[in-house]
C-alpha cells in the first residue's frame, strides 16, 4: 500500500524539490561565493561545493570605505521610521477601531489609497520639494519618507488587531477604576504584541531595502548614503571583485534572512491577515 502511494506522490515531490532549489539557489550561490577563495571564483569550472573556505572577502567588504557609517545610517533611518510609524499608527488605529467620529470611513479610505501610493512616480516632486526646503542629502528626509511608506500598512494591521480584542475587556478594566487609556495600555496593549511585531517587521523590510529615494535624495553628502545605495555602487568601488560584492550582499541580506527564518510561521500566517485583506 505504501509503495504505490509513494510512487503516486513522486511527481509532486519532484516538483516541490525543483521549486525549493530554484528558490534557494541564488541565496546559496551568494553565500558560498562570499566564502570562496578568488581562484575558485574566477575559475572556468565553478564547483557547486566550495573546496576551501576563506573570510578574506568579508574582511575586504567590512574594511571598505564607510561600511560602518552606511550600516549606521541604514540602522538609524530604519529604526526612526519604524518607531515613528508605530507610535502614529497606534493612535490612529485606536481612534478608528474604538471610537466613533465623523470622517472615520473617509480616513480609512485615505489610508487604503495611501497604501497603494505610486512612490515610483513621486520621486521627481519629492526631489524638488526636498531641494526647495533644504532637506536634500539629509537622513531625516529619508526617515520621513520611509515612515510614510510603512504607515498605512501599520494602521490597517493594528486596526485589525485592536478590533479583534473585545472592548468589554477594557470596559471592565475601566469599571475597576482604570482610565480609558490606562485600560488600553494594560489590557489591550499586551494582546497587540503579534500585530506590533508584524508591522515593525514590515516597516523594517521596507526601510532597510529602500533604494530609489536613498539614491536620488542623497547626492552630494556621500557620508549619508545608506547600505542599498552603497551596495548598488559596489562594483564601482571594487571593480570585478565578485567575492567581496557577494560578501557585502550577504552582510546586507543577513538580518532579514535570519529574522524571517526565525519568524517564518508568523510571517506566513500574517500574510493573509494583513497584506491582502488590507
Amino acid at each position: 500500500m505504501t509503495t504505490p502511494r509513494a510512487l503516486r506522490r513522486l511527481p509532486l515531490h519532484i516538483a516541490a524539490t525543483v521549486t525549493v532549489l530554484l528558490c534557494l539557489f541564488p541565496v546559496y550561490w551568494m553565500v558560498t561565493t562570499a566564502f570562496r577563495p578568488n581562484r575558485d571564483i574566477q575559475s572556468d569550472h565553478p564547483r557547486l561545493l566550495p573546496r576551501s573556505w576563506t573570510l578574506d572577502h568579508f574582511r575586504r567588504a567590512v574594511d571598505a570605505d564607510g561600511f560602518g557609517l552606511f550600516w549606521r545610517n541604514s540602522l538609524l533611518v530604519t529604526l526612526g521610521a519604524v518607531l515613528l510609524a508605530l507610535v502614529v499608527a497606534l493612535g490612529a488605529s485606536f481612534a478608528v477601531a474604538r471610537m466613533r467620529w465623523r470622517g472615520r470611513r473617509q480616513f480609512m479610505l485615505m489610508v487604503f489609497i495611501a497604501q497603494m501610493a505610486p512612490w515610483e512616480s513621486l520621486i521627481i516632486p519629492v526631489y524638488l520639494i526636498s531641494r526647495d526646503t533644504g532637506m536634500l542629502d539629509r537622513l531625516p528626509t529619508l526617515t520621513l519618507i520611509y515612515f510614510m511608506m510603512t504607515l498605512p500598512f501599520t494602521i490597517v494591521v493594528l486596526r485589525g488587531f485592536i478590533a479583534t480584542i473585545p472592548a468589554e475587556l477594557e470596559e471592565s478594566a475601566q469599571v475597576d477604576g482604570c482610565t480609558r487609556f490606562g485600560a488600553f495600555r494594560h489590557v489591550a496593549f499586551p494582546l497587540l504584541a503579534p500585530g506590533l511585531m508584524a508591522t515593525s517587521l514590515f516597516g523594517y523590510i521596507t526601510a532597510w531595502n529602500e533604494f530609489a529615494y536613498a539614491n536620488f535624495l542623497i547626492i552630494k553628502q556621500q557620508d549619508n548614503r545608506t547600505l542599498p545605495v552603497w551596495l548598488s555602487s559596489f562594483q564601482n568601488t571594487f571593480g570585478t571583485d565578485w567575492g567581496a560584492t557577494m560578501a557585502a550582499s550577504t552582510l546586507f541580506a543577513l538580518p532579514a534572512l535570519v529574522i524571517f527564518l526565525l519568524l517564518q510561521r508568523h510571517v506566513t500566517s500574517g500574510f493573509a491577515a494583513g497584506a491582502v485583506k488590507g
Partner: protein, 322 residues
Amino acid sequence: MTIVRDPVVSRPPSRPPRRTRGTTRRSTLSGFWPYLLVAPAVLGMLYLLVYPLARAVLISFQDFGLRQLILGDAHFTGLDNYTTLLSDPRFRAVTRRTFVFMAINVVLIMGLSTLVALMAERLGRVWRTVLLSALVLTWAMPVVAATTVFQWLFHSRFGIVNHTLTGLGLSSFEGYPWLAHGPAAFAILVTLVVWQSVPFAAITLYSALTTVPAELYEAARLDGASAFRVFRSVTLPIVRPVFMLVLSLEMIWTFKAFVQIWVMTRGGPGDATTILPVYAVQTALSGQHYDVGAAASMVTVLLMSGVLLAYFRQLLRQENEL
C-alpha cells in the same frame, strides 16, 4: 467587530447600568480625541503624499527645467509637456514596453504561484514546511542584494548560468554577455522580478486555499466530481477574490521593478529595459527636464489608476464581507 462597524452614530441613552460609566466616557472622548489621534497620520499623508502629487501635477503643466529649478520662475504652458510626450516615438515605445513587461511578469507570477500554492496544499507537513521556508527566505532577500546576485549568476565569463548552459551542450552561451543584449537583459530582469514576486503571491494564495472547508471537497468527491471539476467548482469560487487582489497588486507592483532595472541596467542597453518610471526619472533627473518627467509620471499614475480602482472595488467588497 459589529460594535465598531454598525452605522449608528449616537448611542441610545438607555444602557445596562453596569456599562454606564464606560459609555459616558466613550462619548466624551469621542469629542476631539479621535481627531487628535489621527492628526499626525493625516498631516503626514497630506504633506508627504498629497502635496508631492499636487506638485507633480503642477510641474507637468509648467515649463520647468534647470533654469526654473534655480531661479524659480516657472510659468504655465498648458498641455505642452503632454503633447511633447505623446508625439515622442521613444515615449510610445517605452509605454508599449511597460505593458509587455507587465503582461509577461504578471502571467508568469500568477501562473507559477498558483501552481506552487496548489502544490503546497497537497504536500505533507514536513515537505510543506520546507517549501514555505524556502519561499519565505526568497521573499526576505533584499531587492538590491538579489539584483547583485543575479548579475553574478549571469556574469558572462564566470557566471554559473553560462557555465551550466555550456555544459549542457549549448556552446553558444560560452562567455555570452547577457546584459549587453537587449532581449537577454529584459529576460534576466523578468526572471529576477518573477523570482522575487512568486513567494508572496504563492504564500497568499496558499493561505486562501487553506480557508476552503474540507467538507466541501468531501461532498464534491462523494458526488463523483473529477479533480479538475472540484478545482473549478469548489476551489476557484472561494479563492477567486484573493486571486484577483493578488493579481491587481502584482500589476501595480510591476512599477517597483524600477529598482532592479536601475541597479542592473539603468534602462539599457539602449532602451531595451526602460519602463515608464525609469523613463520619467531619466528625463527629469538626468536630463533635467523636470516638466516632461513629471508629465510622464502623471501618465503612469493615470494608467495605474484603472488597475487601482479594480483593486479597491475588490478590497472594499472583501471589507464589507468581514
